[in-house]
């Protein structure tokens, strides 16, 4: 069996059975990177030397029983908004072009304890603000399925790297769909966990009440295993939850859909949904029912208010979180200025990109005196109504189904011209973040051009076990999903 076609769990198993060396997995990944990275540009930084040195350490650790977990020896890529001690962490922004964290994010410590090997940092939209990875200050990432298209965003680098075989697993972050949407565009699997399940310590904050780190992988089992590695209570994050039900890999052992109740918001299938995406979605519903699941449609009255509420809240939090980038303690400082305030302003104006500035300004406005109630509080009240609606739905359904995005990956250069139109593309993903819910995207089809389409399975808070079980069962019924071949990095 070729290493490249193995899942992360298969690779680790072979390693632990002494059939494959840890270094072989790492070399395989760097071989693929050498072949494809020039076209895809999924990475901002690569640690080949460190990774090979670490591979030796891990090999020894597996031999002596230090690392016994199911992902020991597996190479992993990390989104560049997650801090690694001694490694540049730029958030794909000029303002952090030379920032080197002095500590590890909690998730990085957990990867190390699991015997995993971090191979590099992946590209993203600047500060995770964007849906295409085009707002990166360091160049676009191309979709491995078609190099003329975007990989989605903001975790576009992580998803493209997994799709291209340039890593076995990756970490992304999801504030409004930033794992689930690019997973759909790149034909990979990705999970946004229940808020508070994974520590945000060391994740550079965008919108703190919405941000969660999550896994991206080749299939549901790999993602469940990685989620199990990174989840868990962390006193360093005051919003971290002390959950006892973190045995996510167990929940997929029984791949059964019989009797599971799925709800589909009717409004999600109305206007704006690409017909080919809709077809793939409806076919998936058929597969689920054939497997014994019950699928029902229900009405979501708050749909139209999800994006407005989300962008007000996310921008408000962003404007506050990004105040810290002022050229004093770290990162970029303007070369010329007159006095302290001018230094702040010039530094920020020169080093933040357009989309980041747009959101900081919107956020500053909605939080400003005289407008706070009308915009920010109104959005928080709307969020309460959206949450109530999901609570009612989850009283009836185990899992809610939705498309991951209204369309397949757009062409590079098409999306940034009209920011509002780009925001509207987040329609199926933002409510999950507003309500703290877990969601998983699984590939479910391809459009006529061959671009992947994903389906989103949404659970109630702490409902990871249900969505993982449903996703794994669906995946088994679907069969193997293709990897990029045509017109892409393989061409």
């Amino acid at each position: 069996m070729e290493l490249q076609t193995m899942t992360a769990l298969e690779l680790s198993k072979k390693i632990r059975q002494r059939q494959v060396k840890v270094a072989d997995g790492v070399k395989e990944v760097f071989d693929q990177i050498e072949k494809k990275e020039g076209k895809v540009h999924a990475y901002l930084d690569l640690y080949k030397k460190d990774a090979l040195a670490r591979a030796k350490e891990v090999e020894k650790g597996i031999m002596d029983g230090t690392y016994t977990g199911p992902l020991a020896g597996v190479p992993i890529a990390v989104k560049d908004n997650i801090c690694i001690k001694g490694k540049k962490t730029t958030c794909a922004s000029r303002i952090l072009e030379n920032f080197v964290p002095q500590y590890n994010a909690e998730v990085i410590d957990r990867l190390e304890k699991a015997g995993m090997i971090v191979i590099g940092k992946t590209n993203m939209d600047e500060f995770a603000m964007g849906s295409t990875t085009e707002t990166s200050a360091y160049g676009v990432t191309r979709n491995p399925w078609d190099l003329e298209r975007v990989p989605g965003g903001s975790s576009g680098g992580s998803c493209a790297a997994v799709a291209a075989g340039e890593t076995f697993l990756a970490l992304g972050s999801d504030t409004g769909g930033s794992i689930r949407q690019p997973s759909s565009f790149c034909g990979v699997t990705g999970i946004k966990p229940t808020y508070g399940t994974v520590s945000r310590y060391g994740l550079v904050a965008y919108a703190s009440s919405l941000d969660q780190i999550g896994p991206v992988g080749k299939d549901v089992a790999d993602c469940a295993a990685l989620l199990e590695v990174i989840a868990g209570h962390d006193p360093k994050d005051s919003t971290s939850l002390d959950r006892k039900d973190l045995d996510f890999s167990k929940s997929i052992e029984e791949k059964k859909l019989l009797g599971m109740k799925f709800g589909v918001p009717k409004e999600f299938l109305a206007k704006g949904l690409d017909p080919e995406v809709k077809d793939a979605f409806m076919n998936t519903l058929k597969t689920l029912t054939e497997q014994g699941a019950i699928v029902e449609f229900f009405s979501v009255a708050t749909m139209e208010y999800m994006i407005p509420a989300y962008y007000i809240i996310a921008s408000a939090e962003a404007s506050s979180n990004l105040e810290r980038f002022d050229g004093v303690k770290y990162g970029y400082r303007a070369a010329e200025y007159e006095g302290l305030h001018d230094m702040y302003k010039k530094t920020r104006t020169e080093a933040f990109g357009e989309e980041v500035k747009r959101r900081i300004m919107l956020g500053s406005f909605v939080l400003s005196s005289g407008y706070y109630d009308a915009y920010y509080l109104k959005a928080l009240r709307t969020k309460a109504l959206i949450k109530q609606e999901f609570d009612r739905a989850f009283a009836k359904y185990d899992v809610i189904l939705a498309p991951a995005a209204p369309y397949t990956a757009p062409k590079i250069g098409e999306s940034l011209k009209d920011p509002l139109a780009m925001y509207l593309g987040d329609i199926y993903t933002v409510a999950v973040n507003l309500c703290g819910l877990p969601g998983i995207t699984v590939p479910c089809g391809q459009d006529k051009a061959g671009m992947p389409i994903g389906i989103q399975m949404i659970g109630d808070c702490f409902g990871e076990h249900k969505i993982l079980r449903a996703a794994a069962a669906y995946e088994a019924a679907r069969g193997a999903f293709p990897t990029p071949e045509r017109g892409g990095a393989e061409a």
Partner: protein, 97 residues
């Protein structure tokens, strides 16, 4: 009716956001923000009377811990990231005349 974003509002936003935009960028920002506010005005349709604003999904209780230092002295490592440092401190332009 959405708020009309005029020059004065954009000036004020730039002060709050600590940004200095040139005239062209200001004009663009005005248009972008106006478009966004016109769009989010949609929320006004929604009756939220008596609905409490929801900030934290899982309650907003404070999380306390003992006030014990757990990290070591990272002063030099932290200063290594500063654009300018002097005598063990961050250096900024003169602020007092």
């Amino acid at each position: 009716m959405a708020k009309i974003i005029d020059d004065e509002t954009i000036e004020n936003v730039c002060i709050l956001a600590k940004l200095s935009l040139d005239d062209e960028a200001k004009e663009k920002a005005k248009q972008d923000m106006q478009k966004m506010l016109d769009y989010v005005e949609k929320l006004d349709e929604l009756d939220t009377d008596g609905v409490e604003p929801l900030s934290h999904i899982f309650g907003d209780e404070n999380v306390f811990r003992e006030d014990v230092v757990t990290n070591g002295d990272n002063k030099e490592a932290m200063l290594a990231n500063a654009p300018k440092a002097k005598e063990g401190q961050y250096q900024v332009p003169k602020t007092i005349g």
